[in-house]
């Protein structure tokens, strides 16, 4: 009787999550997968085959873009971690009370405006007639206007900026839980800054590092606006290719195949990274 009741409660509580998962994630993906397996043989004539996937592997532009997206995203993740870690350490360990809250809020502020506006902000700063270029001319460092947009560095800047919060928040949370006396004990036993960072702080922060990196990597890989706007026509971002197939070419079959390849790629890289760092998803999320 009671177990029936609690079962019902459990199902009811789970229902919104299940509906969300099934309607918004599982169903579209099943549909997309089926679409990606269709090969167009004539008008309104289709056959089931892997032809769309074959297109990807036979066209160097496609898999070059694919590889480029992957390594740019990995680089963006690494860079975000490198910049985010000291920031998070400072917020979590070296500040108290009000300052801490203020700094934390300052990390949040950029997210009060939409991603589009934020990216346009960067364009205003970096374009040929933009703030940075004018400033350098004013200083006399350069003689003519300089274009800072439409290169990899601009993309990277945009990606790191967009992802920073998602790295800093999990890092601050895990570093906050590190007992100061552990760090002091490390120094007391003769540890140097470097050995304490390596042996005590980083192992403790590992769950935060892993979850931050996964989120940032996924966000970068799937980002569309930032690479297109800051990288321009030659940004060669894989999401751009997918967009083209769906919207410009109306080639939903190929677009779906690309979408699936992207899903596979991101899963594979996350899996490899977890294996390499000796972490597991359960361990990371369980903390």
């Amino acid at each position: 009787m009671t177990s029936d009741k609690s079962k019902l409660g459990f199902i009811l509580l789970l229902a919104p999550l299940l509906i969300w998962l099934i309607t918004l994630i599982v169903l579209p993906h099943v549909g997309m997968f089926l679409v990606s397996l269709r090969e167009k043989t004539g008008i309104r004539e289709y056959e089931t085959s892997f032809a769309n996937y074959a297109v990807f592997f036979n066209e160097p532009l496609y898999w070059n873009t694919f590889a480029r997206t992957a390594y740019m995203s990995i680089a963006a993740t690494a860079l975000t971690l490198l910049i985010g870690f000291p920031v998070a350490y400072y917020i979590a360990k070296l500040t108290r009370g009000r300052t801490k809250t203020t700094l934390f809020l300052m990390c949040l502020i950029p997210f009060w405006v939409s991603e589009l506006v934020r990216t346009f902000g960067w364009m205003i700063l970096l374009r040929e007639t933009g703030v940075l270029s004018s400033f350098l001319q004013y200083l006399g460092v350069v003689s003519g206007p300089v274009e800072f947009l439409y290169n990899d560095a601009a993309i990277m800047t945009g990606l790191v900026y967009t992802s920073m919060l998602f790295m800093v928040v999990p890092l601050v949370t895990t570093l906050d839980s590190l007992d100061d006396s552990l760090i002091e004990a490390g120094y007391d036993l003769g540890g140097t800054n470097w050995s304490i960072l390596r042996e005590i702080i980083i192992p403790h922060a590992m769950p935060g590092i892993v979850s931050g990196c996964i989120v940032v990597f996924m966000l970068s890989l799937g980002n569309y606006l930032t690479p297109i706007l800051l990288g321009g026509k030659d940004s060669l971002w894989f999401t751009g290719l997918i967009y083209n197939q769906f919207i410009t070419r109306f080639n939903w079959e190929l677009g779906s195949a690309f979408g699936f390849l992207l899903l596979g790629l991101s899963s594979l890289i996350v899996f490899l990274a977890l294996k390499l760092s000796g972490q597991s998803l359960g361990k990371t999320m369980g903390r």
Binding site: E184, D188, G190
Partner: protein, 367 residues
């Protein structure tokens, strides 16, 4: 060589913005001594210890280890190790790695580290646990790992900040004996902080009593108990019945005092040179008070009285009586004598009591 103390503090002070946490503390600890700093919560013990370890800088005075000033030496270079209040074992490492941490910093090679770690773990009675995780140990075992982790570096001085505070009572009793044993085995100088007087009294060779940032008295446990030099020490170390009284007459052989309730007391001056009219604080230990059912037995005593048993706090050999003084209505704490005579005392019984003048220690009332 041997007369250079392992640790010496010279007028060490520490003040925060508007608050003096440690003032002019001076002491020296000879090699191999178990030195305790005993004081109530918030008196500045941790601050003092952290200055010795190097985590805080004194605002005045000098700190010497083996005769050399260490004020300029950062904590990771000081020849002292600290056992933290909550031990601060590294949960991300197994026990062997925890104990080996200090040796790794020194660049000792792996096989030597392994051997030394195993040896020190055996000495604390934990051989063969090196591969286990920290969380698999009991409270007392963690304690010993924390000590082993410091001792493997052979520090000149081991600092311990209330390391037994987190343990339950039973284990604490056990660890007291254990710690003392470890200290004499390693023959290392221990500086031990506690607010629990029984810990300090049982383990220490020397005890410093600290109050409000300053040392009140340094001495052996017996000194502190039988010859407390200040009213604070008399009240803090051991139990005592306390009176406030005015000096009626001061003679070479003792003082004659009268409490506000009109009770006459005879006591001894402890060196405060009390004179007629001074207000004094008077301390009498519970075990100094004799009991009898007949008032005649008390005739030779300098201080006598009668009262009613308020309650019997039975605790085996440490049983106590609370008496209510018939004259003043105030409570008096008396150790229950271990004789058959008083075994049947119960609440409401009338009893006579008395104690000698030289068990009545008088101090000048603090201003």
């Amino acid at each position: 060589m041997s007369d250079i103390p392992d640790l010496e503090c010279r007028a060490v002070s520490k003040s925060y913005d508007d608050f003096q946490a440690v003032q002019d503390v001076s002491f020296s600890v000879p090699k191999g001594t178990f030195f305790s700093i005993l004081g109530p919560s918030g008196c500045g013990k941790t601050t003092l210890l952290r200055m010795i370890a190097g985590f805080q800088n004194p605002t005045g005075g000098d700190l010497l280890i083996k005769g050399k000033s260490v004020l300029e030496v950062p904590p990771n270079k000081r020849p002292v190790s600290m056992v933290f209040q909550h031990l601060a074992l590294f949960p991300m490492m197994n026990i062997g790695a925890n104990v080996g941490f200090g040796l790794r910093q020194l660049g000792v090679n792996k096989t030597d580290i392994k051997a030394q770690v195993e040896r020190v773990l055996e000495r604390v009675g934990l051989g063969g646990v090196a591969e286990r995780s920290v969380s698999s140990l009991s409270g007392g075992q963690k304690q010993r790992v924390a000590i082993a982790r410091c001792m493997v570096l052979e520090p000149s001085v081991l600092l311990l900040d209330e390391p037994l505070g987190a343990l339950d009572l039973k284990l604490r009793e056990h660890m007291k004996v254990e710690l003392k044993k470890l200290q004499s085995e390693f023959n290392t100088t221990f500086v031990y902080i506690t607010h629990d007087q029984s810990e300090a009294l049982v383990m220490s060779d020397q005890i410093a009593v600290m109050n409000k940032g300053a040392f009140e008295q340094i001495g052996t446990a017996k000194d502190l108990y039988y010859q407390p030099q200040t009213a604070f020490v008399a009240g803090f170390v051991g139990e005592a019945n306390k009176y406030t009284a005015k000096v009626e007459a001061a003679a070479a052989n003792g003082l004659h005092l009268v409490t506000r309730d009109g009770v006459h007391l005879r006591g001894v001056d402890t060196g405060d040179r009390l004179g007629q009219g001074d207000t004094a604080q008077v301390f009498v230990r519970p075990e100094a008070i004799r009991l009898s059912r007949k008032s005649a037995d008390m005739d030779q005593m300098a201080n006598t009285g009668a009262g009613q048993v308020e309650s019997v706090l039975f605790n085996g050999a440490n049983s106590q009586l609370i008496l209510r003084d018939a004259r003043t209505g105030s409570e008096l704490n008396v150790a229950l004598p271990q004789t058959a005579e008083f075994r049947d005392l119960t609440k409401g019984d009338q009893i006579h009591f008395g104690w000698e003048a030289d068990q009545t220690r008088c101090y000048r009332q603090g201003t």
